[in-house]
């Protein structure tokens, strides 16, 4: 089975997000970049499927040249091929992103495309659906349990306390959520393989879309307050009361 996993280079953030002085970017000087937890799970899911059924995992990103770091991270986890759809630094909207990925899928041919449910920076929730639409493939989103065979996939998700189950013929597009699996860490040999692996590159054209970024603003968050329940054994009754209130006892 040939699987494509799509990932996006996004800023790593701590508890407090800093924005560059021009308000256009998250300040990443001291925080760096990563991919979202959903996408980490998508990579892991693809690797597990091919470990079981055979086949290949390709990883794709649309972003600047520096996004090769994220491709190599995925290669270190077991992906075998990397594709960079290189941008000139301008942010692609979800429609243009889906179109660019669709072109790659058409030219290469895959049985399954996995994405994270949504990007952790822009949070558009659109690329998977638009991609499937462009390809004319079935799509399931928000998936937290996936069973795959050569014939098709069964994708499950929870929605308001009930479980929904979808049977999909292949090829298909599936967007997954964190929790579908426990992603592995890269091994040393994996990291070394990743370093040596070639990256296929192309440069899709940027297209204007309806949404345009004006500026970033960090919303005010409600302050947290720590309450000291007591010290030593004297704190135990109060601790029990609070735990009971939380329903964890």
């Amino acid at each position: 089975m040939d699987i494509l996993v799509c990932v996006k280079r996004v800023p790593t953030v701590g508890g407090k997000i800093a924005v560059t002085p021009d308000g256009q970017e998250v300040d990443t000087r001291m925080s760096g970049f990563t991919i979202s937890p959903h996408e980490e799970c998508a990579v892991e899911e693809a690797v597990q499927i091919t470990e079981r059924l055979g086949g290949t995992v390709s990883v794709l990103t649309l972003g600047p040249e520096a996004a090769i770091d994220q491709l190599r991270d995925a290669l270190a986890l077991g992906a075998g091929r990397a594709v960079l759809l290189e941008t000139d630094g301008r942010e692609f909207g979800p429609a243009a992103t889906a179109a660019a990925i669709a072109a790659e899928v058409r030219s290469h041919g895959y049985d399954l495309v996995l994405l994270g449910n949504e990007a952790s920076d822009t949070g558009d929730y659109q690329v998977g659906i638009r991609l499937a639409h462009a390809l004319g493939w079935p799509v399931a989103t928000g998936i937290k349990n996936l069973t795959t065979s050569a014939d098709g996939a069964v994708a499950r998700r929870e929605y308001r306390g009930t479980e929904e189950s979808y049977e999909l013929p292949l090829p298909a597009v599936i967007t997954v959520k964190e929790g579908i699996n426990l992603p592995r860490y890269p091994s040393l040999p994996g990291r070394l393989r990743a370093k040596r692996a070639p990256v296929e590159r192309s440069a899709p054209a940027w297209q204007p879309e309806g949404l345009r970024k004006q500026a970033l603003r960090v919303p005010a968050v409600a302050g947290h307050q720590a309450v000291i329940l007591g010290r030593g054994v004297d704190a135990v009754p109060e601790l029990l009361r609070v735990l009971g209130e939380l329903g964890v006892l």
């Binding site: 407090k16 001291m30 970049f33 990291r191 370093k195 720590a226």
Partner: protein
Amino acid sequence: MTSPGDAPARASAVVIGAGIVGNSLVHHLALLGWRDLVLVDKGPMPNPGGSTGHASNFIFPIEYSKMMFELTRDSTEQYRELGVFTQSGGIEVARTQARMHELRRRCSQAKAWGIPAELLSPGEVGKLVPYLDESVIGGGAHFPTVGVVDSLRAGTLMREQAQRSGTLAVLAGTEVHGISVAAGRVRAVATSAGEIETDNAVICCGVWSPRIARMAGARLALTPVVHQMISVGPITLFADTPGEISYPIVRDVDTNMYERQHGGDMEVGSYAHRPIIVPPDEIPSIEQSAASPTELPFTADDFDPQLAQALELMPDLLGDERAGIRYAINGLISMTPDGHPVLGELPEVRGLWSAAASWIKEGPGCGRAVAELMSGRVPTVDVHEADAARFYPHQRTVAHVRARACEGFNKMYGIVHPAEQWESERPVRVSPVQERERELGAVFFETAGWERPHWYASNSAVCDRYAGRLMERPAEWDSRWWSPIINAEHLAMRDACALVDLSAFAVLEISGPAALQAVQTLSVAQLNVAAGRVVYTSWLDDDGGFRADLTVMRLGEDRFRVVTGGATGMSDAAWVSGHLPPGAFLADLTSAWTTIGLWGPRARDVLASVTADDVSHDGFGFGTCREIEVGGVVVLASRISYVGELGWELHVPIEQGLRVWDTVWAAGRPQGLIPAGIGVYGTTGRLEKGYRAFGFELTQEYTLPEAGMTRPKVKEQPFIGKEAYLRQRAEPPCAVLCTLTVDSHASADGTLRYMLGGEPVLSPGGERLTDAKGRPSYVTSVGSAPSLGKHLLMAYLPAGHAVEGSTLAVEYLGDRYPVTVAVAGSRPLFDPSNERVRS
């Protein structure tokens, strides 16, 4: 988290930073009787987010620097007492022949300090570390007392001990906003919990230290630098091992890496990547940090080359596909221009203390030392090399600190020759005669930023004259940063005379109505002498250890000029200014005066030919100074010598130095004058005369009687260390400074080897020598004595072994060499009656 108003209004000291150093410091201050202490940190306890929180926490006891060894030893003992030390053993492995040589050197150094150490074959390393590929290495050095500590727990225990004694308030989650200074003294520390009035602010802020120092208007020579580390696991082999560590820590020093078991994981750390400097102001806040402020995102590209080398050494264990890189950081650590911590009061502001640039392995020791200094005590460990006042202004600039930190970073596990020179940030301080020196092919070494000729290539012609007497060193290591030209210059000086550029001297002037009282208080020697006298004296600390060793010229009723070594100039100036009585004033005249030395049997003839003033022995006696005219320049000539020859220090206004040099040069050349470098002045000339040097023989740990420098009488006036000195004189010294000669230089393979300093002195049977106070005998100074045809060593020997003519041994690079005690005491081997100096 505190709120405004939570801070106490007053404190005896505000300690800023609750890492291993700050916690240790409040603990020791409490033990020393301090009350009303405050410990502030912007982060939460017990891990406020500094470098302590991400440290790999292992301790190798071996250090070439005695101070760093002692600080590490003291710290390890403190960790042991706190019950947070686990001994694991550690092995440094060698992949190259050069490294095997280095490991032999390290084992010999370990022997000098009394650290257990042994060389291992690859097979023996493999027995201790079964997952290591023996074929990659040529051997290893095993240090069985290596161990790991829980530094966060240690800090917590020490902090809580101070809290329990009721002396300490802890303000976690409290940001320091400013340090206010009035009349050059710390007055208060402003925090987010309120302002705290205090006389003492202590900077224990690791990588943030320069930022905090700047709040008080001080510059602290430290920069944060990235050290990369990854943690790989789960390691199958470690699954069933008890506790945190069961296998020795491996330092793969040729690749600048270490591998250290941490529970079920293997931590792999590197000092091999490009130096990555992070300015203190760019360290993210706690809230902005994904991990902690000092655990920055891992830059994999920098570490990737290391992975292959780690895999090479531990292929099965680290090559296991099931073991993942579970944690990877660019951890911030502190580095200084010379690699030593910054301890003590900062020179700019009274009451502003630094306990910074200390790593886990020396943290508790640094805490103790600074607590002792703050209490007006002589620190348990001699930390003068870490003196916060030691840096010259240029050494505290951002450019200098960064350049030296970058240069030092990749030397962390490097093979660093004891005389190795820095390459970056040079030249900074140049003598007025540098152009002449360049023309003469001077090979420049750096001291305190000064470029000093160590020898002159143009003197290679002089070598021919002394062929056969140059004591050439066949081994490359022994002759690195050395030249036989030094010995030729020495012999030519002894035969005729030499000109020596001594611009690097620090020149301090103490003046004012209380100037005499000031110098008397500082000096062991009598300074109430006639104007025009030059006095050689030691300065002692309260316990009678050496604080400085220098000369003082009395220039007038109220004016004294102190001439001291460039390396200690800033520390000495700080010592003076800390002891000035009202009515005495200190001026640093280093940049106003250059010093040109003229010594040798022809020195008088040369000087007489360029001055009309009387320079005869009767007219210009030894130990006097006077202004004379030399070629149209007024020169302060001082008739003393550190090389054992007739001659003068010529103190010249710096802009006229070139003229005086040229005048003397032209007159001297027909008389056989040659230029001589510091190789002669600092080593060969000095050793032949048995002259002691501060920092080598003269340290806090030894006394005037032990150094053989007792004078017949003790002056009546009080001076610092007098009571201790009187006690020391009354008892027989338990160690005696001796001069030794090497009886055979032949190594095990027959090569003639010449030791370079620091080596252990052993009994003929190879046993370590320690005196009744537990102090080991090691080589304090070493060098050629070309006039004697001997390689001379100085060492303190236990009184029972300080017997002239007795045979001992010195271990160098793993081989043992027979040596003889030539002098027990200070008698010079060359010209023992000092006729030349007084001729």
